[in-house]
């Protein structure tokens, strides 16, 4: 036992120091809204197209409109709530010795990886992310448990963080296992 702490309540992980970029909220909202537009648009289009092709039963058109409305409503509600929530819970921090991230709303998750065990560092930018000048940083270790990713931070920031991490990983001896 290398460290001992007397009071159990004293041991608390503080949240990582940085939030993701403010613009990530817009990015997430755009993503959810475009998904919503597709999901709700399909039944709406069908509801418009079916009467033009024949004489469908009244129930069918009504049902299609209802489906479109329900999907659209659910999508709008998600777009209103989820990005804000994500912005509140997604945090990250890179210190000289470790990468630390927190994520998850219902299923919370905190991950820590020592810098000395980082194997590869990638930045990823989707088309939508490029539009908002955002990027993901994906940090892999030798574990099969999956990479640690920091999603939706500023593009330039991501590049500098990745460069920093790459340098640290490069300095590590051995194969970081």
């Amino acid at each position: 036992m290398t460290t001992t702490r007397s009071a159990p309540s004293a041991t608390v992980l503080r949240p990582p120091r940085h939030r993701v970029a403010r613009r990530a909220v817009v990015w997430w909202s755009t993503r959810i809204l475009s998904g919503t537009a597709l999901a709700a648009g399909a039944p709406a289009l069908a509801a418009l197209a079916v009467p033009a092709l024949g004489t469908p039963p009244e129930v069918l058109t009504t049902a299609l409109w209802w489906a479109a409305a329900a999907l659209g409503g659910a999508g709008l509600a998600t777009a209103a709530v989820v990005p804000q929530w994500r912005f509140r819970v997604h945090r990250w921090e890179v210190t000289d010795t470790a990468v630390y991230t927190a994520s998850g709303w219902l299923w919370q998750e905190w991950r820590v990886a020592p810098m000395s065990r980082v194997q590869t560092v990638d930045t990823q930018r989707g088309p939508l992310q490029r539009l908002f000048r955002l990027a993901d940083v994906v940090v892999t270790t030798a574990s099969a448990a999956g990479p640690i990713s920091i999603k939706g931070i500023d593009g330039d920031r991501a590049r500098s963080v990745a460069a920093e991490l790459t340098e640290a990983a490069h300095n590590t001896e051995g194969d970081a296992t």
Binding site: P8, R17, S143
Partner: protein, 585 residues
Amino acid sequence: MSADDAAPGRDAGWRRLSPLTVWACALALGAVFVPGAAVGAVVVRLVGAPWPWAALILLGGAVCVAVPTAVEALRWSRTRYRVAGERLEIRTGVVATSHRSVPRDRIRSVDVVVPIWMRPLGLCGLSVGTAEQAGAGSTEIRLRYTGRAEGERLRAQLLLRAPAYAAGGGYGQEDAVGAGTARELARLRPVWFGFALVSGATPALGVAAVGAALNVLSWFGRDRADAVVAGVAGQIAARPLLLLPGVLAVLLVGAAAAAAVQVEAWWGYRLDREPDGTLRLRRGLITNTSLSLEERRLRGVEVRRPLPQRWFGAARVRAVATGLDSEGGRGDPVPRNALSPDLPRRRALALSAEVVRETESPAAAPLRPHPRAALRRRITRALAGTAAAAATGAGLAPPTQWALAALPWLPTGTRGFAAAETAAVSAAGALAGALAGALLLVPWAVSAYRGLGHAVLPGYLVTRTGALVRTTVALRRDGIIGWRISRSPLQRPAGLATLTATTAAGPGRYSAPDVALGAGVRLADEAVPGLLAQFLAEPAAERSAGGGTREGSKRGGSAAADRGDSDAVDGSGRGGVSAEPPSGR
């Protein structure tokens, strides 16, 4: 890399697999298809079909042998390998060629497999386990097949440690390397096969044997098989006591089959520590398997106690090593990281201590139990399962009644059931489901809770989980390459969390489920000192000091960027893990 390996002319060139591989393929196919085609031709001729038909069958047989043999010959001619410098290189592929090059220090294990039909030809197959986890695809390289001597040479050469690397590696015990001869850690005692008789596979194999017998019976006509089944069922319905010897016979057959499987897999079992710093496992009756595992790849040891055998005091040892997952090879019932068959528990613990070079097994250390809330969670799950079983029972009862009513004869004692009201039948079904669920699930819940435990030893993090297979994992603390702490919505009100240590070895993660949150964080901090400490919310003075470190760090560029779109958060902010128990508890 030793001098003669580096010498030009020895390993500079590419090598081929053994040409006997092609002959072996032709022989194996010929053994199946030549007699088959001959018999087919004779039968066709006897039935009275014209000659061309028989000739066609013979031709088909010849094609079935020739085409795969040609493909195999092509594969053989296109496959080359070499150990050059610090890399193992393999070129293969007929249509799409591939060139794979693996640094030798990424090679974790080498399996030498000798199937029985390869034994007279003097061939063996090699499987090379590598540490490439990130990339997609197989982490295993197969060489099928090389000569026995060549296989042994490759095994030794691939695992031979380069002196420069060994000096830098942090895991091996350097002093023990290179001196002395192989030391035997374990050797088979046939009495251990007794544990196979009481394994969970016994009833399953017994039932499978009955199924296979029925299948054979149905070759002689479905009617005959059905008649036999009906006859047996009628006998049992008339004299239920007959069931007892019947079940006993099925169990005996199953036990014999289970023992046979274990004997095939573990006959000749030996575990040695080789002088070159590898653990060498040898086993197998029909297919001889030899697995070499570098000790510096070892990140710990695992002791498993599966349920039926646990009652008889059995345990088995597995390695926690990089490049070795728990999946078995093709058609091999033994996982690749297995280091022993079922042993008496005391022996298994002694072996686990030997494997990691400790005097006392870390897997035998006393463990801290998990909070009672973890038991409540499991009981809740069991009760939910019981409710589901009751609902299923209620749902299944009426169709069962209907099926019974449609049978031509009724087993004794079911007449009342078949004639009862649907509502009563549903209620009976629900009751049966609830009883079965409660009888199975509540003991499971208690056993699962009692299985939970964790401890931090000087060199190891020990976690224990599992009701059916109670698994104790002793993971070397220097093999932990990260932490994950997670909480589900149901764990949160109970103040619990799941602590997962990620590692390069085995499945990549080992968890301590349902620890008290504060205890989990403390455990992680204890196990890997200095990593988590900087993220712990300490009293205010220390916290501000921590903030200062960040600002004062050398990374001025990113610190400047920090001000743009992020804000410093203090320890009491949202998103942190708080260990305070919820109010009212």
